[in-house]
Symmetry: C2
Subunit: 145 residues, 2 copies
């Protein structure tokens, strides 16, 4: 857990590569990130990557706390961005299935590193929060020391 200066440079280099120093590209990338960096978008992306193809109701169950409104809304946005394909089967009762496009699959793969990081650093974050809160509590009354 020691600070490794070369690690900093390594990461900085990677990120510099990622945007190739072009400010216009950077702005566009920021925009895309902002669009895609949505709680529900990422969770839906993950669920679809896991299960392959799902119906609306299946999704609503697998995504846990999502409301039907947000599910519809997010799926529409993802479809518009070319991340998912919406297939309507003209039967009764209606059957609509969602699956990732190659684009969506690629994004899922790209996010893979973040998921792994999140899993591996859950405890570290939890501990950091506790430490922060403790520090905040003690420094709030300096005169008590």
């Amino acid at each position: 857990m020691a600070v490794n200066p070369s690690k900093h440079l390594e990461v900085r280099e990677k990120l510099a590569q990622a945007q190739k120093l072009d400010p216009r590209v950077e702005a566009l990338v920021n925009q895309v990130i902002a669009r895609v960096a949505d709680k529900w978008t990422m969770i839906i992306l993950d669920v679809l990557a896991e299960h392959g193809e799902l119906r609306f109701t299946q999704l609503s169950k697998l995504v846990a706390g999502i409301s039907q409104k947000m599910l519809t809304q997010t799926l529409r946005a993802m479809e518009r961005d070319g991340l998912v394909i919406r297939t309507i089967h003209p039967v009764v009762p209606p059957k609509v299935e969602y699956r990732l496009t190659d684009l969506g699959l690629g994004l899922g793969a790209a996010f893979c590193g973040v998921w792994i990081w999140a899993e591996q650093n859950l405890n570290a974050i939890d501990q950091a929060r506790k430490d922060y809160d403790t520090r905040a509590a003690t420094t709030r009354h300096p005169n008590c020391l």
Copy 2:
């Protein structure tokens, strides 16, 4: 750009590995993702990864459209999560510097893939949106055909 079925499986496998099928871990990861999947958090993360150590005003300029309120708020949250270190130099005028922790650096590296993806697929997303909007416009009046 042809659909490669093995690609699907590959991604699914990676994502399955990432959460090891434990539902509790999955829920926690979702929570972390939701916390970290914030527009400003990711952009600040990126800027700090690029520049190493920055003062408040420098950050506010580099992050572009951010308000001072959101900058403070996001930096505090990131500090609490153990992603950044806030160093206060007891001088006048005040000087406060922010830099990423190892944890933050790790997250930056994990997000690297997403940045690259975003950059590489900007045009694809743009095109997908245009297509979607065109389709929506034409299918809105089926009787015109």
